[in-house]
Subunit: 179 residues, 2 copies
Protein backbone atom coordinates (compact mmCIF):
# COMPACT_ATOMS: atom_id res chain seq x y z
CA UNK A 1 0.00 0.00 0.00
CA UNK A 2 1.39 3.33 -1.06
CA UNK A 3 0.19 6.71 0.09
CA UNK A 4 1.42 10.05 -1.19
CA UNK A 5 1.90 13.20 0.87
CA UNK A 6 1.90 16.35 -1.20
CA UNK A 7 3.59 19.12 0.77
CA UNK A 8 3.24 22.87 0.43
CA UNK A 9 0.25 23.07 -1.89
CA UNK A 10 -0.58 26.63 -2.89
CA UNK A 11 -4.17 27.00 -3.98
CA UNK A 12 -3.72 29.63 -6.66
CA UNK A 13 -0.43 28.51 -8.13
CA UNK A 14 -0.43 24.73 -7.77
CA UNK A 15 -4.02 23.70 -8.46
CA UNK A 16 -3.29 21.99 -11.75
CA UNK A 17 0.05 20.47 -10.79
CA UNK A 18 -1.35 19.06 -7.55
CA UNK A 19 -4.36 17.74 -9.45
CA UNK A 20 -1.98 16.01 -11.85
CA UNK A 21 -0.01 14.64 -8.88
CA UNK A 22 -3.24 13.16 -7.51
CA UNK A 23 -4.32 11.70 -10.85
CA UNK A 24 -0.88 10.25 -11.53
CA UNK A 25 -0.89 8.75 -8.03
CA UNK A 26 -4.24 7.12 -8.74
CA UNK A 27 -3.39 5.96 -12.27
CA UNK A 28 -0.06 4.44 -11.23
CA UNK A 29 -1.34 2.50 -8.28
CA UNK A 30 -1.11 4.61 -5.12
CA UNK A 31 -4.14 4.28 -2.88
CA UNK A 32 -4.30 7.75 -1.39
CA UNK A 33 -2.99 11.30 -1.55
CA UNK A 34 -2.87 13.57 1.46
CA UNK A 35 -2.51 17.23 0.57
CA UNK A 36 -0.80 19.65 2.91
CA UNK A 37 -0.16 23.39 2.53
CA UNK A 38 -3.23 25.46 1.71
CA UNK A 39 -6.63 23.87 1.98
CA UNK A 40 -8.24 23.41 -1.44
CA UNK A 41 -11.68 21.82 -1.32
CA UNK A 42 -12.29 22.38 -5.03
CA UNK A 43 -9.22 20.35 -5.95
CA UNK A 44 -10.28 17.49 -3.70
CA UNK A 45 -13.75 17.61 -5.21
CA UNK A 46 -12.27 17.43 -8.73
CA UNK A 47 -10.10 14.43 -7.90
CA UNK A 48 -12.98 12.66 -6.17
CA UNK A 49 -15.06 13.34 -9.25
CA UNK A 50 -12.47 11.53 -11.39
CA UNK A 51 -12.48 8.57 -8.99
CA UNK A 52 -16.27 8.53 -9.01
CA UNK A 53 -16.35 8.35 -12.80
CA UNK A 54 -13.26 6.24 -13.54
CA UNK A 55 -13.29 3.94 -10.55
CA UNK A 56 -11.54 3.42 -7.25
CA UNK A 57 -10.67 2.82 -4.60
CA UNK A 58 -8.71 6.05 -4.26
CA UNK A 59 -8.76 8.55 -1.45
CA UNK A 60 -7.71 12.17 -1.35
CA UNK A 61 -7.78 14.36 1.74
CA UNK A 62 -6.37 17.52 3.29
CA UNK A 63 -4.19 17.56 6.39
CA UNK A 64 -2.61 20.76 7.56
CA UNK A 65 -0.36 19.13 10.14
CA UNK A 66 2.05 17.08 8.04
CA UNK A 67 4.41 16.60 10.99
CA UNK A 68 1.71 14.61 12.71
CA UNK A 69 1.35 12.36 9.67
CA UNK A 70 5.08 11.69 9.59
CA UNK A 71 5.24 11.11 13.34
CA UNK A 72 2.43 8.57 13.26
CA UNK A 73 3.54 6.82 10.07
CA UNK A 74 4.48 3.21 10.73
CA UNK A 75 6.06 2.16 7.43
CA UNK A 76 8.88 3.68 5.42
CA UNK A 77 8.95 7.30 4.38
CA UNK A 78 10.31 8.00 0.93
CA UNK A 79 11.04 11.55 -0.11
CA UNK A 80 11.27 12.21 -3.83
CA UNK A 81 13.92 14.84 -4.39
CA UNK A 82 16.37 15.59 -7.17
CA UNK A 83 19.07 15.71 -4.49
CA UNK A 84 18.59 12.11 -3.42
CA UNK A 85 20.04 8.74 -4.31
CA UNK A 86 19.29 7.68 -7.89
CA UNK A 87 16.17 5.51 -7.95
CA UNK A 88 17.86 2.80 -9.99
CA UNK A 89 20.41 2.34 -7.18
CA UNK A 90 17.91 2.17 -4.32
CA UNK A 91 14.58 0.83 -5.58
CA UNK A 92 15.48 -2.78 -4.82
CA UNK A 93 16.26 -1.88 -1.23
CA UNK A 94 13.04 0.11 -0.90
CA UNK A 95 11.07 -2.91 -2.05
CA UNK A 96 12.67 -5.26 0.46
CA UNK A 97 10.21 -4.48 3.24
CA UNK A 98 6.53 -5.09 2.82
CA UNK A 99 5.58 -2.15 5.05
CA UNK A 100 3.29 0.59 3.82
CA UNK A 101 5.14 3.39 2.09
CA UNK A 102 4.55 7.10 2.35
CA UNK A 103 5.89 8.98 -0.65
CA UNK A 104 6.56 12.65 -0.04
CA UNK A 105 6.44 14.99 -2.99
CA UNK A 106 7.09 18.63 -2.41
CA UNK A 107 8.24 21.59 -4.33
CA UNK A 108 11.42 23.63 -4.25
CA UNK A 109 10.86 24.75 -0.65
CA UNK A 110 10.60 21.44 1.18
CA UNK A 111 11.59 21.91 4.85
CA UNK A 112 15.12 20.64 5.47
CA UNK A 113 13.97 18.30 8.23
CA UNK A 114 12.14 16.17 5.65
CA UNK A 115 15.52 15.03 4.37
CA UNK A 116 16.35 13.75 7.88
CA UNK A 117 12.96 12.22 8.65
CA UNK A 118 12.77 10.30 5.36
CA UNK A 119 14.06 6.74 5.35
CA UNK A 120 14.99 7.27 1.73
CA UNK A 121 15.67 10.43 -0.23
CA UNK A 122 15.20 9.25 -3.78
CA UNK A 123 16.05 11.02 -7.02
CA UNK A 124 14.15 10.16 -10.17
CA UNK A 125 17.07 11.58 -12.12
CA UNK A 126 19.16 14.30 -10.47
CA UNK A 127 17.74 16.77 -12.98
CA UNK A 128 14.97 19.32 -12.54
CA UNK A 129 11.63 18.20 -13.96
CA UNK A 130 8.30 17.73 -12.21
CA UNK A 131 6.79 16.16 -9.13
CA UNK A 132 4.23 14.62 -11.50
CA UNK A 133 6.81 12.78 -13.59
CA UNK A 134 8.94 11.90 -10.56
CA UNK A 135 5.97 10.30 -8.81
CA UNK A 136 4.75 8.44 -11.90
CA UNK A 137 8.15 6.97 -12.74
CA UNK A 138 8.76 6.09 -9.10
CA UNK A 139 5.46 4.20 -8.93
CA UNK A 140 6.08 2.56 -12.30
CA UNK A 141 9.47 1.30 -11.12
CA UNK A 142 8.11 0.31 -7.72
CA UNK A 143 5.25 -1.73 -9.20
CA UNK A 144 7.47 -2.96 -12.08
CA UNK A 145 4.91 -2.12 -14.73
CA UNK A 146 2.15 -4.16 -13.12
CA UNK A 147 0.35 -0.92 -12.31
CA UNK A 148 -0.31 -0.53 -16.03
CA UNK A 149 -2.67 -3.51 -15.83
CA UNK A 150 -4.57 -2.21 -12.84
CA UNK A 151 -8.34 -2.47 -13.03
CA UNK A 152 -10.36 0.05 -11.08
CA UNK A 153 -13.53 -0.89 -9.26
CA UNK A 154 -16.99 0.36 -10.14
CA UNK A 155 -16.15 2.79 -12.92
CA UNK A 156 -19.02 4.67 -14.52
CA UNK A 157 -17.04 4.98 -17.73
CA UNK A 158 -14.02 3.26 -19.14
CA UNK A 159 -11.98 3.27 -22.32
CA UNK A 160 -11.76 0.49 -24.85
CA UNK A 161 -8.22 0.82 -26.19
CA UNK A 162 -8.32 1.82 -29.83
CA UNK A 163 -5.79 2.08 -32.64
CA UNK A 164 -7.15 5.34 -33.91
CA UNK A 165 -10.16 6.73 -32.19
CA UNK A 166 -11.95 7.33 -28.93
CA UNK A 167 -14.01 4.51 -27.50
CA UNK A 168 -15.64 5.10 -24.16
CA UNK A 169 -18.17 2.73 -22.69
CA UNK A 170 -20.36 2.71 -19.62
CA UNK A 171 -18.97 0.98 -16.56
CA UNK A 172 -18.52 -2.58 -17.61
CA UNK A 173 -16.87 -3.88 -14.49
CA UNK A 174 -19.53 -5.69 -12.56
CA UNK A 175 -20.25 -4.24 -9.17
CA UNK A 176 -21.38 -7.14 -7.02
CA UNK A 177 -21.90 -4.94 -4.01
CA UNK A 178 -24.43 -2.84 -5.85
CA UNK A 179 -26.42 -5.76 -7.22
CA UNK B 1 16.36 10.67 -31.46
CA UNK B 2 13.08 11.67 -29.94
CA UNK B 3 11.33 14.98 -30.35
CA UNK B 4 8.16 16.05 -28.57
CA UNK B 5 5.38 18.15 -30.05
CA UNK B 6 3.23 19.83 -27.43
CA UNK B 7 -0.08 20.80 -28.99
CA UNK B 8 -2.54 23.48 -27.98
CA UNK B 9 -0.48 25.37 -25.41
CA UNK B 10 -2.45 28.13 -23.71
CA UNK B 11 -0.17 30.77 -22.27
CA UNK B 12 -2.21 31.71 -19.22
CA UNK B 13 -3.50 28.31 -18.26
CA UNK B 14 -0.77 25.88 -19.29
CA UNK B 15 2.48 27.68 -18.51
CA UNK B 16 3.49 25.43 -15.66
CA UNK B 17 2.26 22.16 -17.14
CA UNK B 18 3.98 22.84 -20.46
CA UNK B 19 7.16 23.81 -18.60
CA UNK B 20 6.97 20.49 -16.76
CA UNK B 21 6.41 18.70 -20.07
CA UNK B 22 9.57 20.33 -21.43
CA UNK B 23 11.64 19.55 -18.34
CA UNK B 24 10.42 15.96 -18.22
CA UNK B 25 11.23 15.62 -21.93
CA UNK B 26 14.76 16.86 -21.26
CA UNK B 27 15.31 14.83 -18.07
CA UNK B 28 14.08 11.60 -19.63
CA UNK B 29 16.13 11.78 -22.79
CA UNK B 30 14.18 13.59 -25.52
CA UNK B 31 16.29 16.00 -27.53
CA UNK B 32 13.75 18.66 -28.34
CA UNK B 33 10.28 20.03 -27.63
CA UNK B 34 8.29 21.98 -30.18
CA UNK B 35 5.45 23.96 -28.67
CA UNK B 36 2.33 24.75 -30.65
CA UNK B 37 -0.77 26.67 -29.66
CA UNK B 38 -0.16 30.13 -28.23
CA UNK B 39 3.30 31.61 -28.51
CA UNK B 40 5.01 31.86 -25.12
CA UNK B 41 8.49 33.34 -25.23
CA UNK B 42 8.81 33.48 -21.45
CA UNK B 43 8.26 29.73 -21.17
CA UNK B 44 10.90 29.03 -23.82
CA UNK B 45 13.29 31.36 -22.02
CA UNK B 46 12.69 29.53 -18.74
CA UNK B 47 13.34 26.12 -20.27
CA UNK B 48 16.45 27.36 -22.05
CA UNK B 49 17.63 28.76 -18.75
CA UNK B 50 17.35 25.29 -17.19
CA UNK B 51 19.31 23.79 -20.08
CA UNK B 52 21.93 26.51 -19.76
CA UNK B 53 22.42 25.76 -16.08
CA UNK B 54 21.93 22.00 -15.98
CA UNK B 55 23.37 21.03 -19.35
CA UNK B 56 22.29 20.03 -22.80
CA UNK B 57 21.94 19.48 -25.57
CA UNK B 58 18.22 20.24 -25.49
CA UNK B 59 16.19 22.44 -27.76
CA UNK B 60 12.83 24.09 -27.30
CA UNK B 61 11.04 26.13 -29.92
CA UNK B 62 7.65 27.47 -30.97
CA UNK B 63 5.90 26.48 -34.19
CA UNK B 64 2.38 27.66 -34.86
CA UNK B 65 1.86 25.40 -37.88
CA UNK B 66 1.88 21.92 -36.38
CA UNK B 67 0.37 20.42 -39.54
CA UNK B 68 3.53 21.38 -41.40
CA UNK B 69 5.66 19.60 -38.78
CA UNK B 70 3.63 16.43 -39.13
CA UNK B 71 3.64 16.61 -42.92
CA UNK B 72 7.41 16.97 -43.07
CA UNK B 73 8.19 14.43 -40.36
CA UNK B 74 10.12 11.47 -41.75
CA UNK B 75 10.09 9.04 -38.84
CA UNK B 76 7.23 7.63 -36.82
CA UNK B 77 4.61 9.76 -35.14
CA UNK B 78 3.46 8.60 -31.73
CA UNK B 79 0.45 10.21 -30.12
CA UNK B 80 0.12 9.80 -26.37
CA UNK B 81 -3.55 9.50 -25.56
CA UNK B 82 -5.54 7.71 -22.91
CA UNK B 83 -7.69 6.30 -25.73
CA UNK B 84 -4.82 4.48 -27.41
CA UNK B 85 -3.27 1.02 -27.27
CA UNK B 86 -1.70 0.23 -23.88
CA UNK B 87 1.99 1.06 -23.99
CA UNK B 88 3.00 -2.34 -22.60
CA UNK B 89 1.37 -3.98 -25.65
CA UNK B 90 2.97 -1.75 -28.28
CA UNK B 91 6.31 -0.43 -27.02
CA UNK B 92 8.27 -3.31 -28.50
CA UNK B 93 6.82 -2.64 -31.93
CA UNK B 94 7.52 1.09 -31.61
CA UNK B 95 11.15 0.32 -30.87
CA UNK B 96 11.58 -1.94 -33.91
CA UNK B 97 12.45 0.87 -36.28
CA UNK B 98 15.45 3.09 -35.68
CA UNK B 99 13.76 6.12 -37.24
CA UNK B 100 13.40 9.37 -35.36
CA UNK B 101 10.25 9.55 -33.31
CA UNK B 102 7.90 12.46 -32.83
CA UNK B 103 5.86 12.18 -29.65
CA UNK B 104 2.69 14.23 -29.64
CA UNK B 105 1.29 15.32 -26.29
CA UNK B 106 -1.84 17.35 -26.25
CA UNK B 107 -4.64 18.11 -23.92
CA UNK B 108 -8.29 17.13 -23.88
CA UNK B 109 -9.01 18.93 -27.15
CA UNK B 110 -6.56 17.29 -29.55
CA UNK B 111 -7.89 17.55 -33.13
CA UNK B 112 -9.40 14.25 -34.27
CA UNK B 113 -7.11 14.06 -37.30
CA UNK B 114 -4.11 13.52 -35.01
CA UNK B 115 -5.49 10.07 -34.24
CA UNK B 116 -5.39 9.26 -37.98
CA UNK B 117 -2.03 10.87 -38.74
CA UNK B 118 -0.24 9.14 -35.87
CA UNK B 119 1.48 5.84 -36.61
CA UNK B 120 0.76 4.84 -33.03
CA UNK B 121 -1.86 6.08 -30.59
CA UNK B 122 -0.39 5.00 -27.29
CA UNK B 123 -2.02 4.95 -23.86
CA UNK B 124 0.15 5.18 -20.78
CA UNK B 125 -2.70 3.62 -18.85
CA UNK B 126 -6.24 4.20 -20.12
CA UNK B 127 -6.86 6.40 -17.10
CA UNK B 128 -6.86 10.18 -16.84
CA UNK B 129 -3.67 11.61 -15.36
CA UNK B 130 -1.23 14.07 -16.92
CA UNK B 131 0.72 14.70 -20.11
CA UNK B 132 3.76 15.12 -17.85
CA UNK B 133 3.52 11.64 -16.35
CA UNK B 134 2.48 10.06 -19.66
CA UNK B 135 5.51 11.50 -21.43
CA UNK B 136 7.95 10.59 -18.65
CA UNK B 137 6.78 7.00 -18.36
CA UNK B 138 6.71 6.63 -22.14
CA UNK B 139 10.32 7.83 -22.39
CA UNK B 140 11.35 5.67 -19.44
CA UNK B 141 9.90 2.59 -21.10
CA UNK B 142 11.26 3.54 -24.50
CA UNK B 143 14.81 4.01 -23.19
CA UNK B 144 14.43 1.07 -20.78
CA UNK B 145 15.77 3.00 -17.82
CA UNK B 146 19.01 3.97 -19.56
CA UNK B 147 17.80 7.56 -19.61
CA UNK B 148 18.26 7.61 -15.82
CA UNK B 149 22.01 7.41 -16.37
CA UNK B 150 22.12 10.22 -18.92
CA UNK B 151 24.90 12.77 -18.47
CA UNK B 152 24.26 16.25 -19.76
CA UNK B 153 26.95 18.28 -21.45
CA UNK B 154 28.48 21.44 -20.08
CA UNK B 155 26.35 21.93 -16.98
CA UNK B 156 27.07 24.97 -14.84
CA UNK B 157 25.75 23.14 -11.81
CA UNK B 158 25.07 19.54 -10.99
CA UNK B 159 23.92 17.47 -8.05
CA UNK B 160 26.01 15.01 -6.10
CA UNK B 161 23.45 12.39 -5.01
CA UNK B 162 23.08 12.47 -1.25
CA UNK B 163 21.43 10.29 1.36
CA UNK B 164 20.07 13.20 3.34
CA UNK B 165 20.97 16.63 2.13
CA UNK B 166 21.47 18.92 -0.82
CA UNK B 167 24.80 18.82 -2.57
CA UNK B 168 25.21 21.00 -5.61
CA UNK B 169 28.55 21.56 -7.27
CA UNK B 170 29.80 23.74 -10.10
CA UNK B 171 29.86 22.12 -13.52
CA UNK B 172 32.25 19.27 -13.20
CA UNK B 173 31.82 17.78 -16.64
CA UNK B 174 34.81 18.88 -18.63
CA UNK B 175 33.98 21.06 -21.59
CA UNK B 176 36.65 20.36 -24.17
CA UNK B 177 35.17 22.77 -26.65
CA UNK B 178 35.45 25.64 -24.23
CA UNK B 179 39.05 24.97 -23.22
Amino acid sequence: MIKVLRLGHRKARDARITTHVCLAARAFGASEVIISGEQDDKLIENVNDVTERWGGPFKVSYQKDWKKILKEWKGEIIHLTMYGIPIQDIIKKIKESKNEKLIIVGGPRVPGEIFKIADFNVAVTNQPHSEVSALAVFLHMFFEGKELEKEFENPKIRIIPSKEGKKIVDGGVKDDKAS
